[in-house]
């Protein structure tokens, strides 16, 4: 159940409600949880907290999630974090670009919590 023990998770999303439920649910699963509302804060936390998993929203107020994706991956070159993209954009083009730039999973909003858990679990093991 606590498959996220010893794992650090960073959520970058500007919607406070999303961050709230991610915080509650992922902390219960044993994760060390950090959250950011902007791309800039998110990149800072990537460098300082070296997360294992990054949950990334694309529609960020200061910069598009797709733009910072390669930098998130590069923040820890030896062991890049697993990036799960969460977005309302469900077009094929966005999905392709996200995958190209290193996204490990792509979930379109709205999604159920169990879907997210399954995706992260698969990628971690």
């Amino acid at each position: 159940m606590n498959f996220l023990n010893d794992k650090t998770v960073l959520a970058i999303d500007d919607a406070p409600a999303i961050r709230t439920f991610l915080r509650i649910s992922l902390t219960i699963r044993g994760a060390e949880f950090y959250e950011a509302a902007t791309a800039r804060e998110g990149l800072d936390l990537c460098r300082t907290r070296t997360p294992d998993v990054v949950v990334l929203d694309l529609g960020l107020p200061d910069e598009d999630g797709l733009e910072i994706l390669p930098r998130i991956k590069a923040a820890r070159a030896d062991n890049p974090p697993i990036v799960v993209v969460l977005t309302v954009r469900d077009d094929r083009r966005t999905r392709e670009v996200a995958t190209e730039r290193g996204a490990d999973a792509f979930l379109t909003k709205p999604f159920e919590f169990d879907e997210l858990v399954d995706v992260i679990r698969e990628r971690l093991h």
């Binding site: 500007d14 709230t20 439920f21 159920e112």
Partner: protein, 664 residues
């Protein structure tokens, strides 16, 4: 236009005999027939009644089933022969030609074989040629008419007198400057001086004045310079010969001079016309729609032609209907037919063209290399004298107008396609905006509830966490609701389905209601309300105003940092009442101030916290304007954005206290 019998007529008054012969022949044989009428441009100078008679004749012929060929040519004989040759060359099965033989061929008849004989000689073998003798004669324009005499004014007589006087002066000077013997030898120089005077008069004043000068000169020469001087000498043969030679020379020179002058005038006219053609492009350069251009052209071309003109824009490719300009134009049936033919066959039709009899309009198609716009028409007055330049001018003008129309329509099409592009962009923006705004709160709701569901089952949530998740879901659901309400309101307002119930209202009422509804949203915010309206009643729709207030307050919450206060003032001033809602956020960039009320305008396009932005303020604008008020936004001098909802105060002075007092 196949026909078997061809009747050739000109302006002869007995032409009806020929037409009757053609009709009889057509009835006998049951063959089709055609009447060829060559109208000479100068024919209509003298008598309009004769032209009308010809038109009636042609009308009758057409009623009897004849085809009509109505041409405008200066030389009727040549034109007739050309037409017949064209018929045979074009494989026309002309079996019978009926032509008139004028009884008074006069001098021309001696020099040149009459037309009827030429036709009989050339085509007698291939067709049966019937020659009908015609009595009377074609009324030709007189010599005076052909000479294009100008109007006769007092200058017509004063100028020659002055010229002759100058010639006398010059002659006297010549006489005084040389010895008598030599002068007598050079007597003929005097004649040349007077001749020169005549030419000058001809060039300046036209033919009539020149003729006056010629006669005057010959008299003066005879009286003053032919020996014996100071006496009229017409006694001897020599004198008469001298006078005659001088007169002939002077008249010839005068007529030539008059012609030069007339053709110079013609050239000036042509130059004016070509300048007018050039002007069409210049005048319409600023017109940005077809109607504007046509209005200008109508004015200018009416002046150029000195006639009524009209533009007929084809509505469809069949030419079944035309948009007329000026709009009130009504065409007689025959002209209407000519217009349709002009469109269908893409050539000039109507007055003075083939088959153009009975028409009073002349039409010329307005076409460019790849577009057909319709026709340009001129209403030719009955007395109008056709000249060969007319057809050229018509064609030139029609081409220019078509080019102008093409330029304008091309420009409009370009801006229209840009408009479509914009609209398409707006539509896709709306779609992505709506889907984003619907899905973001839904994602929070589904996420929170699914966590609640799966973890509560495992009994791992603390009551505190469970409450947070429930609250989050609830707030987001409310946000979703208000967003959907906004979309529906906007749709209803735009389609005019909203009815406003406007009545006198204490402005604090809707505000209080909204604050209650927005309690969760305003959590952690200080809302400072100051009512400076002194209990004034305001005419408003309470429910709709509440929605405006909610949207504006919601906007203030979204765009200012957490825990900063929101100030709301209710202000009554002379003639109006205002709600002023101010936040303590960063304010609105100056360049975006006037765009915040645009539909779907998002100051921050990827800001998912602010579901429903754009629509909310657009709705606020529509609602306020529907209530006779307005909403504006400014940046407060001390920071933050301030929205002002303005209501007019019609009667202005009633207070809620007075009102309740008066109506217990």
């Amino acid at each position: 236009m196949a026909f078997d019998i061809l009747v050739c007529i000109d302006g002869h008054p007995k032409s009806h005999l020929l037409v009757e012969a053609g009709l009889n022949r057509a009835r006998e044989t049951g063959l089709s027939w055609c009447v060829l009428y060559i109208e000479q441009p100068l024919e209509s100078v003298g008598s309009t009644s004769r032209r009308e008679a010809m038109m009636r004749l042609l009308d009758r012929a057409r009623d009897e089933g004849a085809l009509i060929a109505h041409l405008e040519e200066p030389d009727s004989g040549k034109a007739t022969l050309d037409y017949i040759r064209g018929c045979f060359a074009g494989g026309e099965p002309v079996g019978h030609i009926i032509v008139g033989q004028h009884s008074d061929t006069g001098l021309a008849g001696i020099l040149d074989r009459p037309l009827a004989e030429k036709i009989a000689r050339r085509y007698g073998r291939s067709a049966q040629v019937t020659i009908v003798p015609l009595e009377g004669h074609v009324v030709k324009p007189t010599l005076l008419e052909r000479l294009r005499l100008g109007p006769i004014t007092w200058m017509t007589f004063v100028a020659p007198v002055l010229a002759v006087f100058c010639a006398v002066m010059a002659a006297e000077a010549l006489k005084a400057s040389m010895p008598l013997i030599l002068y007598k030898i050079n007597n003929h120089n005097i004649s040349l001086i007077f001749l020169l005077a005549c030419v000058i008069v001809a060039l300046r004043q036209g033919i009539v004045a020149a003729l006056v000068a010629s006669v005057l000169s010959s008299l003066v020469i005879n009286y003053a310079y032919v020996i014996p001087i100071y006496r009229f000498n017409i006694g001897s043969l020599t004198d008469i010969i001298n006078i005659a030679i001088f007169l002939i020379a002077a008249i010839t020179v005068s007529v030539l001079g008059g012609h030069v002058r007339a053709s110079a005038e013609g050239a000036r006219g042509r130059e004016q016309r070509s300048r007018a053609l050039y002007d069409i492009a210049r005048l319409t350069a600023d017109a940005d729609n077809v109607h504007q251009a046509l209005e200008i052209l109508d004015r200018e071309l009416s002046r150029l032609f000195g006639m009524d003109i009209g533009f007929f824009l084809a509505v469809d490719a069949e030419g079944s209907s035309f948009e007329k300009y000026p709009a009130g134009l009504v065409l007689p049936d025959k002209d209407r037919t000519a217009l349709e033919k002009c469109w269908a066959e893409n050539r000039g039709t109507g007055y003075g063209t083939l088959f153009g009899f009975g028409t009073s309009w002349r039409f010329e198609p307005m076409t460019t290399a790849d577009r057909h716009y319709g026709a340009f028409g001129v209403h030719v007055p009955l007395r109008f004298r056709l000249d060969p330049a007319f057809a050229k001018l018509m064609a030139g003008v029609a081409d220019q107008v078509a080019a102008t129309l093409e330029r304008i329509t091309l420009a409009n099409e370009m801006s229209e396609s840009r408009f479509r592009e914009e609209r398409e962009k707006l539509r896709s923006m709306l779609l992505s905006s709506v889907s984003h705004d619907l899905k973001t709160p839904l994602a929070s709701i589904i996420g929170s509830l699914s966590v609640l569901h799966s973890l509560r089952m495992a009994e791992r949530l603390t009551p505190e966490q469970a409450r947070t998740l429930t609250e989050t879901a609830l707030e987001e659901a409310q946000r979703l609701d208000s967003f959907i309400t906004n979309i529906l309101s906007m749709t209803r307002i735009e389609s005019g389905a909203v009815e406003f119930a406007i009545q006198a209202q204490d402005p604090e009422e809707p505000l209080g209601r909204v604050r209650k509804t927005m309690k969760t949203r305003l959590k952690g915010r200080e809302v400072n309300v100051s009512n400076e309206a002194n209990g004034r009643l305001v005419h408003m729709d309470s429910l709709m105003t509440g929605q405006v207030l909610q949207n504006v307050i919601d906007n203030a919450v979204k765009y200012s940092p957490d825990r900063t206060p929101i100030d709301i003032r209710l202000v009554a001033a002379e003639g109006f009442f205002e709600y002023r809602i101010r936040d303590h956020g960063p304010g609105i960039p100056d360049d975006k101030l006037d765009r915040v009320f645009d539909k779907y305008e998002r100051l921050n396009k990827s800001d998912s916290q602010v579901a429903g932005t754009g629509l909310g303020l657009a709705i606020a604008k529509s609602v306020m304007q529907a209530q006779g008020g307005d909403i504006i936004v400014t940046n407060h001098p001390d920071g933050g954005a301030e929205f002002v909802l303005i209501f007019p105060l019609a009667d202005g002075y009633a207070t809620s206290g007075a009102d309740t007092g008066g109506n217990p």
